[in-house]
Symmetry: C2
Subunit: 441 residues, 2 copies
C-alpha cells in the first residue's frame, strides 16, 4: 500500500451549525422558540435560546488559519472556513484532505447536548433536540450518503424521552449517539445508577454505539489560573482516562457483551499503561472490593468494549499490539486546532506505514465501519474513496487550502510577553458565554 491508497474515515470532526438549521425541521411556535443566531454589538455571532446565550462557533475552530492567528477568538461564522458550517464546502475540504467519511459532533447544544441541562423549559429542549437530530441526520449527513456517520444527541434528563429519541433516530438510520462521559456533572445520576438501565438496554437492543467526547462532562483539570494554556491543552485528551476507568467498571458491560463505547478525542498512547495498571490494581484489590472482575481481566473487558481514537499518535501506533488492532480508529478533528487538515495523509502515513496492509485498513477505516455500523461501500467503490481519488476530485474542483487570515490581529495584546494562561482563556471564554457562566455560578 502507498499513502494515496489509504481509505480514511475520521470518527471525530465538528460542525458549527448555520443560522437556518431549524427552518426545514420545525414550524410555528417550535420554530419561533428555536435557538437564534444573532450578531451582538461586537460583531460576534451568538446563539440565543430560552433566555440564555451560547457562543456561536466551536471555540478554537481555527482550521485554515495561519498558526499566528490560532487561539480562542473566532467568534462569528464569517471568520471560519465555509466547510465548518456548509456541508457542500465540508465535503470539498474532506476531499482535498483525502478523508472518505466523517463523524461530526455538533456545537450549538455542545458535543453531547450538555448546554440543554441548564435551560428552564426541558420539554421545549426535547423538541429542539429532535429538530437538531433531524437537521444533523437528514440535512447534513443526508446530503452525501456514504460520506457521514450520523451521531445524535439525547434529552438524557428524561429517560422516557431518551428511549423514544433513541428509537426514532435508529429508525432514521442513525446508529451512534453522543452523551456526557460523566452525567453527574449535569446533575444527573452517575452511570452506575439504575436510572440508566433502560438506556443501556435500548442501546444494546438497537445495536447502537456510544460516543464519549472529551469535554462533554468531566472538566479537563488545569492546576491554576496562572498555568500556561499549553499545559492545559496538552493534557486534555488524556483526561478521558477517568471516564474510561469509570465506564470500565460498568455492570452493563457484563450484561451486554456487545456494548460499544468510543472514547472520542481520547488519543491512544496512554492506553497500554492504563490497561496494565487496571489489571495490576484489580489483581491486588479484587479480594476485598467485591470487584466484578474476578475471572475476566479489566484489560480484556476494555478491548471488548472500547474504541480508542487518535489524531496524531506515533508512539501509540508503534504499540498497537498492546491496544488491539481492532480497537483503534483515526480522527481528524476538523476544524479544531489539533486538526492536521489539509495534510492528514502526509502526517498519518509515516506513523502507520510499518503496519501490514490489513492493519492499516482496520485503523484507517475498517474499525470505524464495524464499531459504528457504517458502510460507505454501499455508496462508493473503494477506489473512489482513496486519498488519491478524493484529491484528484478536489483538484478538479479547485479547492483552495492556502492559509486565510481572517482576524487581522493577534488575539492577545502585542505588549503581552508572558505566556497565555488558563485564566486568560477562562476570562475570554466567560466574555463569550456570559449567560451560560452566570447560570453555572
Amino acid at each position: 500500500m502507498e499513502m494515496k491508497d489509504m481509505v480514511i474515515i475520521s470518527v471525530d470532526d465538528h460542525i458549527s451549525e448555520p443560522p437556518d438549521m431549524f427552518k426545514n425541521h420545525l414550524s410555528g411556535e417550535a420554530l419561533e422558540t428555536a435557538p437564534k443566531l444573532l450578531k451582538d454589538e461586537n460583531g460576534k455571532d451568538v446563539w440565543h435560546y430560552q433566555g440564555q446565550t451560547f457562543a456561536s462557533v466551536a471555540l478554537n475552530a481555527v482550521v485554515g488559519r495561519p498558526f499566528e492567528e490560532y487561539g480562542m477568538e473566532p467568534t462569528s461564522l464569517d471568520q471560519l472556513r465555509e466547510g465548518v458550517y456548509d456541508v457542500h464546502e465540508r465535503v470539498k475540504d474532506m476531499d482535498v484532505n483525502g478523508v472518505a467519511a466523517s463523524l461530526n459532533f455538533g456545537s450549538v447544544f455542545d458535543f453531547a447536548g450538555g448546554r440543554l441541562h441548564r435551560v428552564p423549559d426541558k420539554k421545549l429542549a426535547t423538541t429542539h433536540i429532535s429538530a437538531y437530530n433531524d437537521w444533523h441526520i437528514d440535512e447534513w449527513c443526508g446530503a452525501y450518503p456514504g460520506r457521514f456517520i450520523p451521531c445524535a444527541i439525547l434529552p438524557t434528563w428524561d429517560m422516557a424521552a431518551t428511549i423514544a429519541e433513541l428509537k426514532r433516530v435508529s429508525d432514521k438510520g442513525c446508529h451512534t449517539i453522543s452523551i456526557s462521559e460523566n452525567p453527574t456533572c449535569q446533575g444527573l445520576p452517575s452511570i452506575h445508577n439504575a436510572y440508566w438501565d433502560p438506556f443501556y438496554k435500548a442501546v444494546n437492543d438497537l445495536d447502537m454505539t456510544i460516543c464519549l467526547h472529551i469535554g462533554g462532562g468531566n472538566p479537563a483539570p488545569h492546576a491554576s489560573m496562572e498555568t500556561p494554556i499549553e499545559a492545559w491543552i496538552s493534557t486534555m485528551p488524556m483526561s478521558i482516562a477517568y471516564a474510561a476507568s469509570d465506564w470500565l467498571q460498568l455492570e452493563a458491560l457484563h450484561t451486554f457483551p456487545d456494548m460499544r463505547i468510543a472514547l472520542s478525542e481520547g488519543s491512544i498512547g496512554w492506553v497500554p499503561y492504563f490497561t496494565e495498571r487496571a489489571d495490576f490494581s484489580n489483581s491486588r484489590h479484587k479480594y476485598w472490593t467485591n470487584s466484578r472482575f474476578q475471572n475476566l481481566k479489566p484489560s480484556e473487558m476494555f478491548k471488548r468494549h472500547f474504541l480508542n481514537c487518535f489524531i496524531d499518535d506515533a508512539f501509540g501506533l508503534q504499540n498497537i499490539q498492546f491496544i488491539g488492532e481492532d480497537n483503534i480508529a483515526y480522527e481528524c478533528d476538523y476544524p479544531h486546532s489539533d486538526t492536521l487538515w489539509p495534510e492528514v495523509p502526509e502526517h498519518l502515513w509515516p506513523t502507520i506505514n510499518h503496519l501490514t496492509d490489513a492493519q492499516i485498513d482496520k485503523i484507517t477505516h475498517g474499525n470505524a465501519m464495524r464499531w459504528f455500523r457504517f458502510d460507505p461501500f454501499q455508496h462508493y467503490r473503494r477506489e473512489e474513496l482513496t486519498v488519491g481519488a478524493l484529491r484528484e476530485k478536489a483538484k478538479a474542483a479547485g479547492v483552495d487550502t492556502s492559509p486565510k487570515s481572517s482576524l487581522g490581529e493577534r488575539p492577545l495584546a502585542e505588549g503581552d510577553v508572558r505566556p497565555v494562561t488558563s485564566g486568560d482563556i477562562m476570562k475570554m471564554f466567560m466574555r463569550h458565554e456570559d449567560a451560560e457562566q452566570k447560570q453555572d455560578a
Copy 2:
C-alpha cells in the same frame, strides 16, 4: 547480570511515625504541644494536634496482610507490620525484599506537610516541622547510614521560614524535599507566582531535589460516589500528569537548568504519550501563546528536569528509549497496597532483564543516586547491597514474611455484594478524619 545481582534503591516508601517520635527532638512547651498519638474509644490510633485529629497510620498500610484483608481499615499501629514504624524492623524488611536503600515519605503531617496548612498556629507548626525533619533525618535515616535517602518537609506558608528550613536540613545532609504538586490546593499562590522565586533559587543554590508525590495536592479525580473504588485506585498514579504538565511550563526550569523534580508514585508507561503530545500541542500553539518553548521542545525539557518513578510497569520498561534511561527510578511503596514486598526482585527482574547491565544499574539504583545526590557506596561495598547479599542477611536474621491476619474480619459487611465504591471509601475516610474534614468544609 542475574536477579540476585541487582542493587535496588526504592525512591518511594512510607513511614507511619511512632508515638515517641518527638521526644528526642523537643522539650518543654514545644514537646507538650507536639502531635500526640492516642487511642480513641474504638481502639483506633489518632494523632491530636492543635485541636484537630489526623488518622494515625497511612491509610492502606496493608503490607504483609492477606489480600482479603486489604482496604482502608488499618487504623492502629498494632495492626501493622513493625517495619512500618520501627526503623530496625524496617531495615530487616528491606533486607528480605532485597532493597538496598529507600526514600521514605511521612504520614503524620501528610506526604508533603499538607495537613499543617489547616492548623491555626502556624508558628508552632513551623517548630514541629523542624522537629519532624530532625526525627526523620537524624533518628530514622541516621540509624542506618547508606540505607535511607532523607526527605524533608517545609513550612511553605512562610517563605522565609521555608528558606531557613531548606538551609538547615541541607546542612544536616538532607538533599531532598517533598512539597505539594499544586500549592493552590492549600490556599497558596500557584507555582508560577513570584511567591516561589526564592524557593526555586534556594533549591538550586543548595543543589536539592524536589519530590512531588501523588495525593499531595491535586485530588486524583473520581467520577462519582457510585464509581467502584477500583476505577479510582487504578487512575491515581497517572493523575500526576496534570502536575507534570504544569511544572513543565515553569519559568524556573529555564532559569535553573539543573533543577530536579521527581514525580513520586507517578508511574512511567504514560510518559512517552505525554511528552509526544506536549510537543504536538506546542508545535501548533506556540505562535499565539507566548510559549516559553520556541526552540527547546517540551519533551527535551521534561528529560532534563523530571525523574519518573515506577512500582510495576512492564510496558513502560519496554519503551525506555522514549522516556530516557537516565530518567527512570524504581519504587517499592512499602507499606501501601501497591507494594510487591517481599517479592520485589521476582516482579522487577522479568520487566527489566531485556535491558543491558548498564541500563539495569541505572534504573535499579544509578539514577536514584544521581537524582537524589545519594551514595550508599560510601558506606557499603556493592556486593554487600545486592539482592542476594541482603537476602542472605535476612535469612540469617530469620525475618518472617508470611501473611499476618491482623484484622480478623473483612472491612465491609459480609452481605454486601455490590462493588465497594468511591463513596464507601470517602465515608470510611471521613469517620477517621472527622476534624480534618470538618475543617475543610
